[in-house]
């Protein structure tokens, strides 16, 4: 009986994007924080972020090359440059995107690796 409960609990708390989580914690969490909350109006949140939800096709290029200029996230304007993470491979970028799409209550869909690769080829 106890074993069954443990099994159920373990199943429901398992995160299918473990690689993405590890990458996120190593490359992104220092700014966006472990809980995806960002830093006030200096660093945008990822948890519950409308920008994340609506700009899915921009994510691969943002992650690899960074981003500059003002953006609006959940009604707040952010205007600090984000450094890119050039050392992540295409697969790693896909893993990170799929992790953040499903972390902290987010439910923003699953991006296939070939989609990520197509987008990365066209980054400006």
């Amino acid at each position: 009986m106890v074993i069954v409960i443990c099994f159920v609990v373990a199943c429901s708390s398992s995160n299918p994007y473990k690689q993405g989580k590890i990458l996120y914690e190593n490359f992104c969490a220092s700014c966006h924080m472990d809980d995806g909350s960002g830093l006030a109006a200096n660093i945008p949140p990822l948890a519950g972020a409308d920008y994340l939800k609506e700009a899915q096709e921009l994510l691969p290029c943002i992650i690899r090359y960074g981003q500059q200029g003002p953006i609006v996230v959940n009604g707040v304007t952010y205007n600090n440059a984000m450094p890119g993470v050039p050392q992540l491979t295409d697969f790693e970028i896909a893993n990170v995107i799929n992790y953040i799409n499903h972390a902290w209550g987010n439910d923003y869909g699953y991006m296939q690796i070939d989609e990520v690769q197509d987008i990365l080829e066209e980054c400006q």
């Binding site: 220092s30 700014c31 924080m33 830093l39 006030a40 109006a41 200096n42 660093i43 450094p83």
Partner: protein, 198 residues
């Protein structure tokens, strides 16, 4: 005699409850007496181009750190923890915050002001210091922090990231690693203890 005993016990209980934070600053013997180092004289500008110096913080408690705006590694989490401290003690006039920029070349006063505005903090409570790089690097020592310019590092600086609590007479009373949120929780309790002295 019975009353005397009760008073003794009463005062004994109170004494045990009010623990004081230790003084962590280095000390030297001067004519046989222990004298603790204090934060040396400093004069910097804050994000509103106001002069801030020892008088700004005299008689109050404050938490100090050393950071720079383009720091991608430890600074955001450090400042997030500073923000937690700010919010917890927002209504407490005897607790101030002081963040020194170690990169005055890039962290100009307008940029520091924008950063402070983005955090949504009262500029008279949380000062962001701009000043002579050498002066700031020397101050870091007194605040139990190490700051080194190192061009081999991607962001150009190496710094220890400690949040340091200074008491009303300029002594270091506690510190915590700014990236360790549990240690910062403890620091907030230390702040409560220190505020009892003021």
């Amino acid at each position: 005699m019975g009353i005397g005993l009760v008073l003794l016990v009463g005062s004994g209980c109170q004494y045990n409850q009010t623990e004081r934070l230790p003084v962590l600053s280095s000390k030297k013997l001067v004519e046989g007496r222990k004298v603790y180092d204090t934060i040396p004289p400093f004069s910097l500008l804050n994000q509103d181009s106001q002069i801030i110096n020892n008088a700004t913080f005299a008689g109050k408690a404050y938490v100090a750190d050393f950071f720079f705006l383009s720091c991608p590694t430890i600074c955001p989490l450090m400042q997030a923890n500073m923000l937690r401290i700010y919010e917890r003690f927002e209504q407490e006039p005897d607790l101030l915050l002081l963040s020194h920029s170690i990169d005055p070349e890039r962290d100009t006063i307008p940029r520091l002001r924008q950063y402070a505005d983005n955090l949504g903090v009262d500029h008279r409570k949380w000062h962001f210091a701009y000043g002579d790089k050498e002066e700031i690097y020397e101050l870091a020592d007194d605040y139990f922090n190490i700051v080194v310019e190192d061009e081999t590092l991607p962001e150009g600086f190496d710094h220890s990231g400690r949040l340091v609590l200074i008491g009303p007479r300029g002594h270091v009373r506690a510190f915590a690693l700014g990236t360790d949120s549990t240690a910062v929780d403890q620091l907030m309790m230390d702040i409560e203890t220190l505020l009892d002295e003021i």
